[in-house]
């Protein structure tokens, strides 16, 4: 119960930050997107299931405020969270700097995946957006914020007992 409440709290705060401070940080006309950072960090901290659940819930919350098709961010978040959790295993939790590298690569993939899935459901204009710039901005900012995000998600997803037991397997 405590994990669920903490996770919802983290998602709500991230959503608020995304739609205020982060939205104003325009780099070459593009805003960073920290909503992809949540499933990435959750996947690193808790594994594929936690990554997928946080990706789905965070994406769904983001979709509530976005003008793009409802559920698209949730789908990408779920896939990204699961993939990061499954691929990184316990390695990214222990190697310093690896969360940033994972966040950079996965964020770029997430942006591309979002555009391609959008095009598949009739939003072909997504492919004409400045994809390279969006991917770089989102990837670099998420890489910089990966450390704090992993720390926050560890607080949300890992009660002390779970940490003692060795976290997600």
């Amino acid at each position: 119960m405590r994990v669920a409440l903490r996770t919802i709290f983290v998602i709500a705060i991230a959503l608020l930050l995304q739609n205020t401070i982060i939205l104003e940080l325009r780099i070459d006309g593009v805003s960073p997107d920290i909503m992809y950072l949540l499933p990435i960090a959750a996947g690193i901290v808790g594994g594929p299931v936690d990554g997928a659940v946080v990706g789905f819930l965070g994406g769904l919350a983001a979709d509530l405020l976005l003008p793009t098709p409802f559920g698209l961010t949730a789908l990408v978040g779920t896939l990204v969270g699961f993939a990061v959790g499954a691929a990184s295993g316990s390695v990214a939790r222990q190697v310093r700097g690896l969360p940033s590298a994972v966040a950079l690569v996965t964020s770029v993939i997430a942006v591309m995946l979002y555009a391609m899935l959008g095009a598949l459901i009739g939003q072909s204009q997504f492919l004409h957006a400045n994809l390279a710039v969006i991917a770089v901005v989102v990837g670099v900012v998420n890489a910089v914020l990966a450390g704090p995000a992993v720390w926050v998600l560890r607080w949300a997803l890992m009660p002390p007992a779970r940490v003692r037991d060795g976290a997600a397997r």
């Binding site: 205020t20 593009v30 997107d33 976005l66 003008p67 789908l75 004409h128």
Partner: protein
């Protein structure tokens, strides 16, 4: 994937629109509150960093206050706002708009997604705003309402990759202008190579049967015309007359011909 399918096919759009409306009502005041907090914090840190030099300059600046007060009204921001409102008033005087109900609105957010060109305005269903209503800004047409919430609405800008608008120009010529996702220009679609069009020409909403916008609203100015020998169509680009970035105020036209 089920959620996307239900939303895109319209089978659950009432549910998703309702959820979005509730989310908008909750987040709008939070967003305003946080934005209100950010500005003073930013100013505080800027002041703290430069405290020493600020003290020295304080006396000097005091002597300049009187002089500045007289020119205050002419600051760039004030002039820009004045010019914006003046242009908006000029749009109101157009014959095609003067008979319509108009809802003035303030822009609260712009481009909340990197994949869509939109603005969020502070007026929604309670003010009579509905999906499909045309939105005008200083200079001309800005876009169309795509989501109407309780106290806010989302407007798809002309430059969005999904936007299209029927326009008329010259000697009763008509065309469709479409947004270009990654730019601030519009592209004319299916414009026959025999159509007379020149750079600098103004384009207005056509208002033909089934049109999405009332007729006669200024939309764009032609910026380039390219004719390729043997091609059936001309390549024409146009620049919107209304500035699509940095919008502060817009007006929603309550128009019975809209798709709502």
């Amino acid at each position: 994937m089920s959620i996307i399918t239900l939303d895109e096919t319209g089978k659950a759009s009432v549910l998703t629109t309702g959820a979005k409306s509730v989310a908008s009502d909750i987040y709008s005041p939070l967003r305003s509150g946080v934005n209100g907090l950010i500005d003073p914090i930013g100013r505080f840190f800027a002041g703290a960093v430069n405290y020493g030099s600020l003290q020295r300059e304080n006396e000097k600046l005091r002597s300049q206050i009187d002089a500045l007060e007289t020119t205050h009204a002419q600051t760039a921001a004030a002039k820009r706002q004045y010019s914006e409102l003046e242009k908006l008033l000029a749009i109101n005087r157009l014959p095609s708009i003067s008979g319509l109900d108009v809802v003035p609105a303030q822009v609260t957010a712009q481009d909340i997604s990197d994949f869509a060109s939109t603005i969020t305005i502070d007026k929604g269903r309670t003010s009579g705003v509905a999906i499909g209503d045309a939105v005008v800004g200083p200079g001309g047409l800005v876009g169309q309402v795509t989501e109407a919430f309780h106290g806010a609405a989302q407007v798809r800008l002309l430059t969005d990759g999904k936007s299209t608008v029927g326009v008329s120009f010259g000697n009763h010529e008509v065309a469709t202008l479409a947004g270009v996702q990654s730019g601030s220009t519009l592209r004319a679609e299916d414009l026959s190579s025999t159509t007379a069009v020149s750079v600098g020409e103004l384009m207005y909403t056509s208002g033909l049967a089934g049109a999405q916008f009332p007729p006669g609203i200024p939309v764009a100015r032609v910026t380039s015309v390219h004719s390729v020998v043997g091609a059936a169509n001309k390549q024409v680009t146009a620049k919107p007359l209304a500035a699509m970035s940095g919008l502060s105020y817009v007006e929603v036209l309550i128009w019975s011909g809209s798709s709502s």
